[in-house]
């Protein structure tokens, strides 16, 4: 098991990429996280996180064909690598382990 664990926001970004199924780049990732979590997200955080995830080898990126709506500029698309998937799974399992047996006041069993 890797010593390095995923941060909360890293998990969010990876999950957003997976949910977008192949159309993922920074703009829809921001939209996806905002829509799903109801929290506003700074694009800068997403860019920084994408860069870090790529450096860790958890995602890869490539440039799309030029897009007319973007003034003829390409998009930097991303996809999750197997190592990213593995770490995401580990993080989920760990949180599940932490949550198991925990009952918060006011919640039904």
């Amino acid at each position: 098991m890797s010593r390095q664990m995923l941060g909360e926001f890293e998990q969010m970004v990876l999950l957003a990429i997976l949910r977008l199924r192949g159309d993922a780049y920074a703009v829809p990732i921001v939209g996806e996280i905002e829509a799903r979590t109801g929290r506003s997200v700074a694009p800068a955080s997403v860019h920084v996180t994408l860069r870090r995830l790529e450096e860790k080898g958890l995602i890869t990126s490539w440039l799309s064909e030029p897009v007319p709506e973007r003034g003829g500029r390409a998009r930097r698309c991303v996809q999750v690598e197997p190592e990213g998937l593995r770490q995401l799974r580990e993080s989920r399992d760990m949180m599940n382990a932490l949550w198991s047996g925990v009952r918060m006041t006011g919640e039904s069993r």
Partner: protein
């Protein structure tokens, strides 16, 4: 940015500069896309606002990275790693939020840090202004003064006009030599009012020396110094503005300085007050003076281009040696040194006092930081689970440490801002007070606003404080504890231990408070006792002023005023003024002396001879000295001092062959018998080479309490003096009602009696007492405040630490109760530990202070014992309270709840 997208151009340009090259185009395009989506949703203005906010967000994330990269001289994108790289904008935000979330810590910790930083900033600013600051002139650091001392008498010798003429011709390393002296003159100002001013009589060479050009007209010129030249004056900016209402046609106007009408030839710019803080300049008539004769002057010049300080000192030694050869009688003992006019002379040793300032500042900061660190640790301990979870989610240890340190930094920074505001207020206030207190005022180059270097110093103190209060708690909170915490998370509760270090800190804190508080209380008490000393006679009933005669008012035959004539004129004028004052309905007494009660005493060693016995040196209360004063007739009567033995001083006593003096009761006690008829004389001391003549003691009076600090225990000797023999006269007018109301009347009467009379510092004795007590009052308030802050702070720190320590045992207590333990027994274990910590501290603190008091030689004062007991009780009470509240809460926890907490 694509054309026509409408993205704010300037913001986009900033963003382009900030971003690393490899992601610049992607980010710009993405952000533009998001911007266009926003435009549709909320309009162009809102979208533009949002865009600018995003640019700021990118700038904080990538700007710091670029700076770090640039500092390392490498590729910015390679600038990763290292503790600094893990500080993010978020940490600052979190830090600010923590301030609001923990108002107790923010207020108590912040204010204590602010106080420490304010003390530091004030100390640094004052030291910097008074010790190190140079003249604000072009190459002002090369302006020098020539300081002559009589090494035998260990006093300075300012009568150097004779030498000045020789230096001017001989010195090559010091050029543009000038001389000045400050004289008091009545000046007829713009509104036709007569006011006394300190006027600089200065050689014209002083103006080019400063390299400051006049605002209007011209400075003094060599032609103005020639005998018979037109009388001229140069005005300072403030005088021109306030007394002549900034009259643009001031050049050519005639202003009467002393008795001489002088034509205004120039106005100097604002902030110029050379040589000290003068606002009027007239030519110094440089007449030939005999060695060590003539008026006292100040001599200054500028190091010649290329000349070093060593070269100047060496050349002066040569010239001084030649002077000593030529005038062995007067100059054998004289040494002249070249010194920086203002600030530090290169080559001077750093005095230990200068280092002590920084040491004290650092000590205060350390003491405060130790306290704040305790609070920060308590807060961090409460957040242990947060830290464990963050670590679980991938935060590195450095990351967590930097977050805690950043939070401390936010606190310290806020404290620095408050501290600087406090410091500025203190410096301004103290500056204004000092100007009132010092006769010749603060030098013109001293500026009473905090300098940038002081602000930098305060920020450095804040950074040091942040590191001190953040690092230790952060290290402690993220050490092995975290790993244990992670392992234990599903089974046990908290893991952070309040180990030996913190027990020690609790104990040390109690001890430290115990040591500091009685000391502070003792000092405050001294101050308060000083304040109480002077309520014995009604100070508000005395109007006082300094009276002298304008030297120019009575020129002698050769144009040089004759001291005897001026003295006679002064005495006549004073007698007439006193007569007219006594005619005023409210006035009961008019008297004078060289000082009044509540003014600083002049201290001399004396010996007493009774009959034909050997003279005995009197061991006075002022370090073996006794206080001496020269007083006029009726002095003791005016201050209601009863005669104990002998007679009072008469008008004929001044100048009588037996030189009669009065002494006070304390003097009589020291001698041991009635000293009337005995003889007394002053002995040499630093600055006074000769033994004084014998005086006959003719009477003994009650103690007057001349000095606020003497508490009626100081020995006094009053010699008789006439108004002709004293300059200036310090006059006291006793009034039946409020003395302040008489002030305008005195000025009117003085003008009627003789326009040459100079009246200065017209005020009540109460005001003088208040001014003298100002340091004591400030001292008492500062000490009182520190006392209170220290107590509150120590109590809060103690409470927080002990409360947290007990709260963390909630689960243990709950389980014990669940297993059937007796609540009292459980409580006993809680209090036993607290008792050990508190007791250790109390015993240590008390022992240290008792040993110190005992070693200091003084007996152990009842007040100290009381202070120790009170503080010990307060500390113990706080400790008990800190344990009781969480312990009671723990006892009430349901056993099932306690078990589940794990």
């Amino acid at each position: 940015v694509s054309a026509g997208s409408g993205v704010p151009r300037r913001a986009a340009a900033v963003l382009r500069r900030v971003l690393p090259a490899d992601m610049r185009e992607d980010v710009l395009a993405d952000l533009e896309e998001l911007y266009l989506l926003r435009v549709e949703r909320e309009g162009a203005a809102g979208a533009a606002r949002w865009y600018r906010g995003q640019v700021l967000s990118y700038a904080t994330r990538f700007g710091a990275e670029r700076v770090r990269g640039a500092l390392r001289g490498g590729d910015p994108s390679a600038a990763r790693g290292g503790p600094l790289s893990v500080i993010s904008w978020l940490d600052w935000k979190l830090g600010a939020r923590m301030l609001l979330k923990h108002p107790g810590l923010t207020i108590i910790g912040g204010l204590s840090l602010a106080a420490a930083i304010a003390i530091g900033a004030v100390g640094f600013e004052v030291a910097n202004e008074l010790l190190y600051k140079g003249l604000p002139f072009d190459e002002g650091e090369r302006v020098v003064r020539l300081e002559t001392r009589d090494v035998a008498a260990t006093s300075s010798e300012p009568r150097v006009l004779h030498d000045f003429a020789i230096w001017r011709g001989a010195l090559k390393t010091v050029t543009e030599l000038g001389a000045a002296r400050v004289v008091e003159r009545n000046v007829l100002t713009g509104e036709g009012r007569l006011e006394a001013f300190r006027v600089a009589e200065m050689t014209s060479s002083a103006f080019p020396l400063t390299r400051v050009s006049p605002l209007l007209g011209r400075p003094l010129q060599p032609a103005d110094e020639v005998p018979g030249a037109d009388a001229v004056v140069v005005l300072g900016y403030d005088v021109w503005q306030t007394k002549f209402l900034g009259d643009p046609a001031i050049i050519g106007r005639v202003v009467t300085v002393g008795r001489i009408p002088r034509t205004v030839v120039g106005v100097m710019p604002a902030g110029f007050g050379f040589p000290r803080n003068q606002q009027l300049w007239i030519p110094l008539p440089v007449q030939d003076a005999a060695p060590r004769e003539g008026p006292p002057v100040q001599v200054f010049g500028r190091l010649a281009p290329g000349a070093t300080w060593q070269a100047a000192a060496a050349e002066l030694d040569v010239v001084s040696a030649r002077l000593a050869e030529d005038h062995p009688v007067t100059h054998a003992q004289l040494r002249t040194r070249v010194r920086a006019f203002a600030g530090r002379t290169p080559g001077d040793r750093v005095e230990w006092q200068e280092l002590v300032i920084h040491a004290i500042i650092l000590l205060v900061l350390l003491a405060v930081c130790a306290n704040v660190a305790t609070l920060v640790f308590a807060r961090t301990a409460m957040r242990e689970s947060e830290i464990v979870v963050r670590t679980a989610l991938g935060a590195s240890r450095t990351r967590v440490i930097m977050q805690i340190v950043t939070e401390s930094f936010v606190l310290a920074l806020a404290a620095a801002v408050v501290g600087l505001v406090i410091a500025q207020t203190i410096v301004r206030y103290a500056g204004a007070r000092t100007t009132l207190g010092i006769d010749d005022g603060l030098p013109f180059w001293v500026d009473l606003t905090l300098e940038p270097v002081t602000i930098a110093y305060a920020l450095l103190l804040a950074a040091t404080a942040a590191a001190l209060i953040g690092v230790l708690p952060a290290l402690k909170a993220t050490g092995a504890v975290i790993r244990r915490g992670l392992q234990d998370m599903t089974t046990a509760g908290t893991a952070m231990k309040f180990g030996g270090v913190w027990s020690f800190i609790i104990g040390a804190q109690v001890a430290f408070t115990l040591i500091c508080l009685p000391a502070a209380a003792g000092i405050s008490q001294e101050f308060l006792r000083d304040r109480a000393t002077h309520s014995e006679f009604p100070t508000e009933r005395y109007l006082t002023f300094r009276l002298s005669m304008d030297v120019e008012a009575l020129p002698g035959d050769d144009g040089v005023p004759d001291d005897a004539e001026i003295g006679a004129r002064r005495a006549l004028a004073f007698e007439e003024l006193a007569r007219r004052l006594r005619e005023e309905p409210s006035v009961t007494h008019v008297t004078f002396g060289d000082r009044l009660p509540a003014m600083s005493p002049r201290l001399m060693p004396v010996e007493v001879q009774q009959g034909t016995a050997e003279p005995v040196r009197l061991q006075g209360n002022y370090d073996g000295h006794i206080a001496v004063a020269a007083v006029g007739v009726g002095y003791h009567d005016a201050f209601e001092a009863e005669l104990i033995a002998g007679r009072v001083l008469h008008a004929g006593d001044a100048g009588a062959p037996n030189r009669p003096v009065l002494v006070n009761e304390a003097f009589m006690r020291e001698v041991g018998s009635n000293p009337v008829g005995a003889r007394v004389r002053t002995l040499p001391r630093r600055g006074v080479a000769e033994t004084g003549p014998w005086h006959e003691i003719v009477g003994v009076t009650a103690d007057l309490g001349m000095d606020p600090t003497d508490r009626g225990e100081a020995e006094y000797m009053y010699s008789a003096v006439s108004a002709a023999g004293l300059d200036p006269l310090i006059v006291a007018v006793r009034v039946a009602g409020d003395a302040a109301a008489l002030a305008p009347r005195v000025a009117v009467l003085a003008r009627q009696v003789d326009p040459g009379l100079q009246l200065r510092d017209v005020t009540t004795l109460r005001q003088i007492v208040a001014n003298r007590q100002m340091p004591a009052i400030i001292g008492t308030s500062v000490f009182g405040t520190i006392l209170l802050i220290a107590l509150v702070f120590s109590a809060a720190g103690l409470y927080a630490l002990m409360a947290v320590a007990v709260e963390r045992r909630t689960r243990e207590i709950g389980i014990r109760i669940a297993l059937g333990a007796n609540p009292h027994r459980v409580l006993r274990t809680v209090f036993a530990r607290a008792g050990r910590q508190l007791g250790g501290g109390i015993i240590a603190g008390n022992s240290i202070i008792l040993v110190l008091t005992w070693r200091a030689g003084g007996g152990i004062d009842v007040n100290i014992i009381i202070a120790l007991v009170v503080v010990s009780v307060i500390m113990a009470a706080v400790g008990v309270l800190a344990c009781t509240v969480p312990a009671r809460r723990a006892l009430r926890v349901q056993p099932t709840e306690a078990l589940r907490q794990g």
